[in-house]
């Protein structure tokens, strides 16, 4: 926090509080929304289908996106709510999207796993692990060709480094010295499998180094450390030095999806992780720097209110018109399949 003003610190805290409030509300709204892991469907469910929650990982999204401008772009993952909020998307419109309402940022067509807001440079979540990596690289190539002074932050998980697009994308970005900040948001779980046991070698940073992409490892639950490390790497990328990789180690405190109780993992591991919650940790640091407890409580309260309003708006919003099901598709030359 040496180089951080109190205002910046509070802004990071606010972003994390808003993500947490959103994820908690979304989790609650999705109860009964999917029949899996022994859970039953409920007739009164508001958010249908599984949600991949980023609860406990807020510091990565908040710390990285605070270093970006509106001209910068991001790509995200299936666990993309936090990145989308941190990049500046409207919480109300995001909640509408999760509900599948016409008020959603994608008109209810994308849902949680395809959430996107191009107006704030958020190029989309993606249901396929590592699929955002080549998209980020291509977007960065376009920025370079268009001589735009902007970069792409590419979020992916620890599971993604075991897929080909990680190698292909980093290689490409390095060869062309593209403006990409790769962010490995390492929550240590690949769906229901511990990533460590599935991954040879020393992980994302070591693999990136092999391709000539330097980077840093950081405590992904320390928002100030993420912010500082991202500042340094973003500065190098903006200076035209080529891509960089930030390996942020965090923990997935929820199951793979909202209904997954994650009974396949050690309870003590989860308990330890819960002790390392990034939000109380940031609060303690801010308190030590002289911020009043009431000010932090006020931020949390405002976040809760914002999300409550978003929930109410999403509940009240209309379902998309049936005709919207057939719009926004590139013309197929026939209406045969659209009726």
């Amino acid at each position: 926090m040496v180089t951080l003003s109190l205002d910046e610190g509070l802004r990071l805290y606010r972003t994390m509080a808003r993500i947490r409030a959103f994820e908690n509300a979304a989790e609650e709204a999705s109860r009964g929304g999917v029949s899996a892991f022994g859970a039953a469907l409920s007739a009164s469910v508001r958010v249908r289908g599984p949600l991949h929650l980023s609860t406990g990982q807020e510091a990565v999204a908040a710390g990285v996106c605070a270093q970006l401008t509106t001209a910068d772009l991001i790509t995200s993952t299936h666990r993309g709510h936090g990145h989308t909020i941190a990049k500046g998307a409207s919480v109300e419109r995001m909640m509408g999207e999760l509900f599948g309402k016409v008020s959603g940022c994608n008109g209810g067509k994308g849902g949680s796993m395809h959430i996107a807001d191009f107006s704030v440079g958020m190029l989309g979540a993606n249901g396929v692990v590592a699929a955002g990596i080549p998209i980020a690289v291509g977007a960065a190539h376009a920025l370079k060709l268009r001589q735009r002074n902007a970069l792409v932050a590419c979020f992916f998980g620890d599971g993604a480094i075991n897929r080909g697009p990680f190698l292909e994308g980093l290689n490409w970005a390095a060869v062309h010295a593209l403006p990409v900040l790769f962010v490995c948001e390492d929550n240590r779980w690949s769906a229901t499998t511990a990533t460590g046991a599935m991954t040879a070698g020393d992980g994302a940073l070591a693999r990136a180094a092999g391709i000539g992409v330097p980077g840093e490892r950081v405590d992904g639950n320390d928002v100030f450390a993420v912010h500082a490390a991202a500042a340094e790497l973003v500065a190098q990328v903006r200076a035209g030095q080529g891509p960089r990789l930030l390996h942020a180690i965090t923990y997935r405190v929820k199951g793979h999806v909202s209904v997954d109780p994650a009974t396949y993992r050690d309870g003590e591991e989860v308990d330890r992780a819960l002790q390392d919650d990034p939000i109380p940790a940031a609060a303690a640091r801010l308190r030590a720097a002289g911020v009043a407890a009431e000010a932090l409580a006020q931020i949390a309260l405002e976040a809760e209110r914002e999300v409550a309003a978003a929930l109410a708006a999403a509940s009240a919003a209309a379902w998309p018109d049936r005709a919207a099901s057939y719009s926004d598709i590139q013309d197929t030359g026939s209406d045969r399949w659209l009726v």
Binding site: N126, N171, I329, D331
Partner: protein, 325 residues
């Protein structure tokens, strides 16, 4: 008019669009100084290489097409040359699932103006013959262009580059360096989704694309000597499919033969046959007939290849049989 091969016409079309629109650029394997396999990009490096608009890529098909999607989302109009259609399975996720769906999932806000070029086809190069275009028929949002002549190839390429949707552009290797075609010197496009009647006839409609159009035209000449006149409909695009031209022709002839250089099962011949059955059943004097490659991997030996791929004689026999019914 100038006379060019399909390869020359396609490259000329790309070069014209690159001169017309600074956002158009091309990337792919071996397309730089080498000029692309089978000269697929001959001359582009010399004209545009210095400005970074012809980009040699690593052998990373998924990344190349994914990057094409990303570059399109970020305001460029990329052309990606993946060399061979045999590699389409490597990029289905990026081209079909991402590129095809972005416009829809963004509720119309995002556009993906991307052209993916791929060579294919049984012919003189004896390698990479696979025509996997049917795989992309299952991912709504992607268009498929399949020219049979050099003139159409240039016009379709220019239309594909100007289109705001992802387009798979298929380049048949047996047609690539073959006959020269008269090409207009002025700017023109062949719109996507518009078939063309390449030969008029009253007895049987043969619906074909690419190399099978040439075979159908050869069959038509042979049949004309017997007094059988076949009408040859060149699809030119698989998606969008020009249903009106197909149905108009079938209503006139009452007989339909659908020919493709792919397996029939689950492919575009099935789609065209179903269209005719659904929309024009009462116009038919005989059941719809299909001709495609045998339901086997494309074999290597000449004798096996010949047995697996429909030839002029097969088209003649099928058309004759239809007329006899």
């Amino acid at each position: 008019m100038i006379r060019q091969t399909m390869q020359e016409a396609i490259v000329a079309g790309i070069a014209e669009e690159m001169r017309r629109d600074a956002d158009v650029f091309i990337m792919g394997l071996d397309i730089g100084r080498f000029g692309g396999p089978l000269n697929s990009c001959k001359g582009l490096w010399e004209e545009f290489g210095a400005t970074g608009r012809v980009i040699d890529t690593p052998i990373s098909e998924g990344a190349i097409v994914g990057a094409g999607v990303g570059a399109a989302l970020a305001g460029k109009r990329p052309i990606v040359d993946i060399m061979f259609l045999e590699y389409l399975p490597l990029v289905i996720q990026q081209l079909g699932c991402d590129g095809g769906a972005m416009h829809y999932y963004s509720a119309g806000k995002a556009r993906v103006p991307l052209v993916v070029r791929a060579k294919y086809g049984v012919g003189p190069y004896h390698g990479h013959p696979y025509d996997f275009h049917a795989w992309l028929m299952q991912t709504p949002g992607v268009k498929i262009a399949v020219p049979a002549t050099a003139r159409d190839a240039k016009g379709l390429m220019k239309a594909a580059i100007r289109d705001d949707s992802p387009v798979l552009f298929m380049e048949h290797m047996a047609l690539y360096h073959g006959l020269r075609d008269a090409i207009p010197e002025e700017d023109y496009v062949v719109p996507l989704g518009v078939a063309e009647v390449k030969r008029a006839g009253r007895d049987v409609t043969v619906i074909a694309s690419a190399a099978m159009v040439r075979r159908a035209l050869a069959a038509a000449q042979a049949l004309a000597k017997e007094g059988i006149e076949i009408e040859v409909v060149d699809l030119r695009s698989i998606v969008p499919l020009d249903e009106a031209t197909i149905l108009d022709s079938v209503r006139k002839t009452g007989r339909a033969l659908v020919v493709q250089e792919t397996v029939c099962f689950g492919g575009s011949t099935a789609e065209v046959a179903a269209l005719i059955a659904e929309r024009s059943f009462r116009d038919l004097k005989a059941p719809v007939r299909r001709l495609g490659t045998a339901y086997v991997p494309v074999p290597f030996a000449r004798s096996l290849e010949k047995a697996a791929v429909p030839d002029d004689a097969a088209i003649v026999a099928a058309a004759r049989d239809l007329v006899s019914q």
